[in-house]
Amino acid sequence: MTTILVVEDDPNQCLLYANEIRSAGYDVITAHDGREALEVVEKARPDLVVMDVSMPGIDGIEAMSRMLAKDHKLPIILNTAYATYRESFRSWSADAYVVKSSDLTELKDTIKRVLESRSRPAAPAGA
């Protein structure tokens, strides 16, 4: 089964995302900050990471940068309440950028799309 790592510092949101993504048919593991996420990626080798950005310590963009430095093929979706992080060119490293919403349809659709695109030959990012 496809394993998704959800990185989210808010425990209630983390639970919500985990349940919703699990109900979409994925196996879900969680981490609550950037440092823990780096450790989990090393150990569990998830197929995709859903990464919050604003987190204490190592933020999501920095954690993504460190993950991709080790495995640049790891699919990562930035999932944040703030659209402003898109102004950082470092956010381009992500496969997709989703602004948080109470409706998780967009996030689940994006996970599906990114996983499907990774099973095809790589094309330049345009999202």
């Binding site: 993950m67 640049h72 470092r90 381009w92 330049p124 990012a125 345009g126």
Partner: protein, 346 residues
């Protein structure tokens, strides 16, 4: 003693207050530094950017693949969109228009370098050539009235990724700063029968005290009314209003001068964060022929604060003549680009 100086190009006042610092480099400089990690702009990571709109590469058939020297891609999350309609919005009191425009990123090297001067002259010339190509491309579309090329280096200068890059924003309006400069250039031309900038070049070369570098096709000066410590202008000696029209045979010398200035700023200020901007004529405006394109280079040393926001005036704690002398000496004192600060000249 401090003094007021007025910049003839912008019309803005500057207060030069040199007694605030003992030596020209006695400031906490915002430096650029490497944080490492994955870089979406490096060669081999082309899949992290939107498809390129231009590139310099050995094999043109290999778009969006490794093998490039300079690469231009649309901003993945642009401030303006070329597919937006141009429509007036708002009412008479709050007039605006839809966000039509173009926002491109120029990735200047396949290597993970932090500043343009880490390349050789040929590499910098490639970058200038692709700037010209992109401006020329925008100029062909009459909906665009201005194209601004600018560069942010270091987080203090607004850069969000350390890999050396520039940006171009093409707009359906002429920014007020540019409009004002063009108006002053036209007024000077009508009164004196000469180009404001050509006149400035002649005077600065004759006087010499604010000259930093003299090339075959350009000079670098600390402008008389510098807003910021070590602000440097690179002025082509030939009068050309539009950057994209500048003859190709001069670009190598201009690239070399740009590298020289950036190297000296690195030597004098220990790899500062900086911005540079190309001031060029508005696209397709006949009155803009009085203008004379140039590059303004601004190291991040002082901050814009309440006085500057409130008045549009700037307080510069370094006498431009001292900054120019220091930068002239920087090459003689010689330190590596990543090395320590040079000793202050006596």
């Amino acid at each position: 003693m401090s003094e007021f100086r007025r910049d003839r190009v912008s019309g803005r006042w500057v207060i030069i207050a040199p007694e605030r610092a003992a030596r020209p480099t006695d400031f906490p400089v915002e430096r650029r530094y490497s944080v490492g990690g994955f870089c979406p702009f490096c060669e081999g990571h082309e899949d992290k950017t939107p498809p390129e709109v231009a590139a310099m590469r050995s094999d043109p058939q290999q778009a969006n693949r490794p093998g490039w020297r300079v690469r231009v891609v649309p901003n993945r999350f642009p401030a303006l969109r070329p597919d937006a309609p141009i429509e007036i919005v708002g009412d008479a009191a709050c007039r605006g228009m839809t966000g039509f425009g173009i926002h491109e990123v120029i990735i200047e090297s396949q290597r993970h370098i932090l500043s343009l001067n880490e390349m050789d002259d040929a590499g910098v010339t490639d970058v200038l050539r692709i700037y010209q190509q992109r401006l020329a491309s925008v100029r062909q579309d009459s909906r665009f009235l201005y194209g601004m090329i600018f560069k942010n280096v270091g987080s203090a200068a607004g850069a969000t990724v350390e890999h050396s890059h520039s940006q171009m924003i093409g707009m359906p309006v002429v920014p007020e700063t540019v409009r004002t400069e063009v108006r002053h250039a036209r007024q000077f031309n009508e009164a004196a029968g000469a180009c404001l900038f050509c006149n400035m070049i002649d005077r600065e070369v004759a006087k010499g005290e604010r000259v930093i570098h003299v090339g075959r096709h350009c000079i670098a000066i600390a402008p008389y009314a510098s807003r910021f410590p070590f602000e440097t202008w690179l002025l082509p000696t030939r009068h050309v209003p539009h950057f994209e029209d500048h003859p190709a045979e001069a670009l190598g010398d201009i690239a070399s001068a740009l590298r020289t200035v950036l190297n000296r700023l690195d030597q004098a200020l220990e790899t500062p964060a900086y911005n540079y901007l190309i001031h060029t004529s508005p696209l397709g405006e006949k009155s803009a022929d009085y203008f004379h394109w140039h590059i303004e280079i601004i190291p991040c040393i002082t901050k814009i604060a309440g006085f500057e926001w409130g008045t549009g005036c700037y307080i510069n704690p370094v006498l431009p003549e001292s900054a120019a002398a220091f930068l002239r000496e920087a090459s003689k004192l010689g330190r590596s680009a990543s090395g320590g600060r040079v000793a202050a000249s006596s």
